[in-house]
């Protein structure tokens, strides 16, 4: 038995015939917060999508274990039921389906898959409203179509709200900080921090350091050329902020990647 919640080995992924991830390794224990950083096009979002099971990504090598299971063998909704949550970089609009209806359907689907009874409607509503208050979201948003006509900040807050309501074990946040002003960023970060618990893990996919000022990661990884080029503690993000990806990482990537592989092997 490993004590890892998530364990990725030598993951290789193609999109439309193009190699995006190529030998990626990553291990996450319960309670840990990992930040995945890297320049545009380095494969950060691809990693998030592959873990969630988005169609259109072809896994050409490697394996992903999640809670002792073969994650890649699971259907999208089975992964969700196993406690994996993806906060979308571009949250999807679903006109006609109200936010509250969506949340309720999702939560009851998850509970059903886990063999748990449906939640009492009133209890559910109260708990959602409490979390909305925590996120400083207007209650009116509950009765509008999912993300329909929401502002950028409202959409991102809505993703975090869903995370708080659905209570996953591993949440992957894909560029959740992008497009947020400083106040919205603080609200979102507060939501994320309230989610942290010793049995819950987080993977923060981000281009910039600024989210990490508010949500302190245990580990920072730099994605380069389809694999983890460099890993370190929270201080690595600061180095990157000052020196940029080119200075901070690329030049050292090859050697460190070699070392990383040796260590794993």
């Amino acid at each position: 038995m490993s004590d890892f919640l998530l364990s990725i080995r030598q993951l290789a992924v193609q999109v439309e015939g193009k190699q995006i991830l190529d030998g990626l390794d990553l291990e996450v224990r319960p309670g840990e917060v990992h930040a995945i950083m890297g320049p545009n096009g380095s494969g950060k979002s691809t990693l998030a999508h592959v873990l969630a099971g988005r169609p259109g990504y072809e896994v050409t090598g490697g394996e992903v274990r999640y809670d002792g299971q073969d994650l890649l063998a699971l259907e999208v909704e089975q992964r969700a039921a196993a406690g994996l949550f993806l906060a979308f970089q571009y949250p999807v609009e679903i006109p006609g389906v109200s936010n509250i209806q969506f949340l309720k359907t999702a939560l009851n689907s998850l509970r059903k898959q886990r063999g748990e009874p449906e939640l009492d409607a009133l209890e559910f509503l109260d708990s959602v409203k409490a979390r909305m208050a925590q996120m400083q979201m207007e209650e009116a948003l509950l009765y509008r179509g999912v993300n329909e006509g929401f502002s950028g900040g409202e959409k991102k807050s809505n993703e975090i709200l869903q995370m708080l309501v659905l209570e996953p074990r591993l949440a992957i946040l894909d560029e959740t900080d992008s497009g947020l002003d400083i106040d919205a960023l603080k609200r979102v970060a507060a939501g994320i921090n309230s989610f942290r618990r010793e049995d819950r893990s987080l993977i923060l996919v981000t281009h910039y350091q600024r989210l990490l000022d508010y949500v302190k990661p245990d580990y920072v990884h730099v994605l380069q050329q389809g694999r983890i080029g460099r890993s370190g503690g929270a201080e690595l993000a600061l180095t990157l902020e000052q020196a940029g990806y080119a200075q901070g990482a690329v030049t050292e990537t090859e050697a460190e990647a070699e070392q990383g592989r040796d260590r794993d092997g």
């Binding site: 988005r54 169609p55 259907e75 979308f88 949250p91 209806q101 999702a106 689907s109 998850l110 659905l166």
Partner: protein
Amino acid sequence: MATKTPPLEALLSKGYSQGFVTEIDEDSLPPGLDESVIRAIVEKKQEPEFMLQWRLAAYRHWCSMQVPTWSRVHYPPIDFEAISYYSSPRARRKDAPASLDEVDPEILRTYERLGVPLHERAALAGVAGARNSTNVAVDAVFDSVSVATTFQKELAELGIIFCSFSEAVQKHPGLVRRYMGTVVPYTDNFYAALNAAVFSDGSFCYIPKGVRCPMELSTYFRINAAGTGQFERTLIVAEEGASVSYLEGCTAPMRDEHQLHAAVVELIALDNAEIKYATVQNWYPGDAEGKGGIYNFVTKRGLCAGHHSKISWTQVETGSAITWKYPSVMLKGDDSVGEFYSVALTNNYQQADTGTKMVHIGKRTRSTILSKGISAGRGQNTYRGLVKVGRKAVGARNYSQCDSLLIGDRCGAHTLPYIEVMRPDAQVEHEATTSKISDTQLFYCRQRGIDAEAAVSLLVNGFCKEVFRKLPMEFAVEAQALMEVSLEGAVG
């Protein structure tokens, strides 16, 4: 989709839950149609002479007509000689049942199973599983005849007449004679002519001047006997300032043969009157291979005869092998309003050619059309509509929106709007879109733990929401549930 989705076909077994047959004695005429059949129907129903003459005129006119072929629906020719034009549950006594106690308990059980409350006390108390726990008066039509009408006494105190068509012919011949055929004359079309000749029952509803009907009126149509057609007629008259909300539901047993349902509905709204007519049509649609199912060829039309009158049609069409109908409004009175809200779903081999006609005759008349068509499997869904603004319809307005949703790549969605405008001050707008459920939306739902089938159902209900909102509460819930059943096996 690029990844596997669950084998959803396996879930099909839930299927059509109203497809059972009630075992009772039926009193049917032998198949075939000639003047003697019409005389026999008139005889059985002891109708006055004017009915016989009208039916015969309709029959003779029908004989001169050709089967229409202009719709986008395809089916083998119907053998009109193979249909029995009259079938009624054999009465325990010779005349119609005077109270519920005299109705065959098998029939009562049938309606109970369908969730239609015929026991008034039970209805008020809210029968478990009954569709309507609130006040709804029901006229239950079983094959060719009405078997029971509830709450008649309460309604009569307000001067409202709500009864079977047969009863209306006997008790209110003056009203029947005055209004029957004025909105849909028997010359209107092939199936309207056939209906006029052989119709056996239906509902009649009269709301006197200034009365707002305090409860929903409802007719529940059930085809039970094999080898029959159902030809019923509904007539609703709302006098000046009156208003009524009317619901119609339909089911039939699962059979391998196709059965014909050719109804006529006429609505008349006088000055300031309002009629809302809602249909949840769930006739047996046939099986996944397209075997069996009802041919639903219906003529529905409302006449806004008075000024400031309003007629609103809402329909949810999930059943029938073929649906062919255009609930229409003739906007004759000045400032009258017509509305049409429709959801039509075709799955497997179902075909629907439906839409509306809004004919603007009076001044400042307004109409709204909102149509949502969903095609899945090999379903074919056609919206066909006419908006006509006549020379005298000063300041007429219409807004139409027709959206189609495609699920799977073997189905079809067609939009044929006819717009004819003869007024410079008219304002007519038509918009239509065709789309599919996007992979991104589906992925988003599944990532949150909702399986593909539930996700499709959720998205489709979202697509239809604007129409469902127009239904009375109980019907809206039923409509949503129906959509789920009807969509089974649509994904994958």
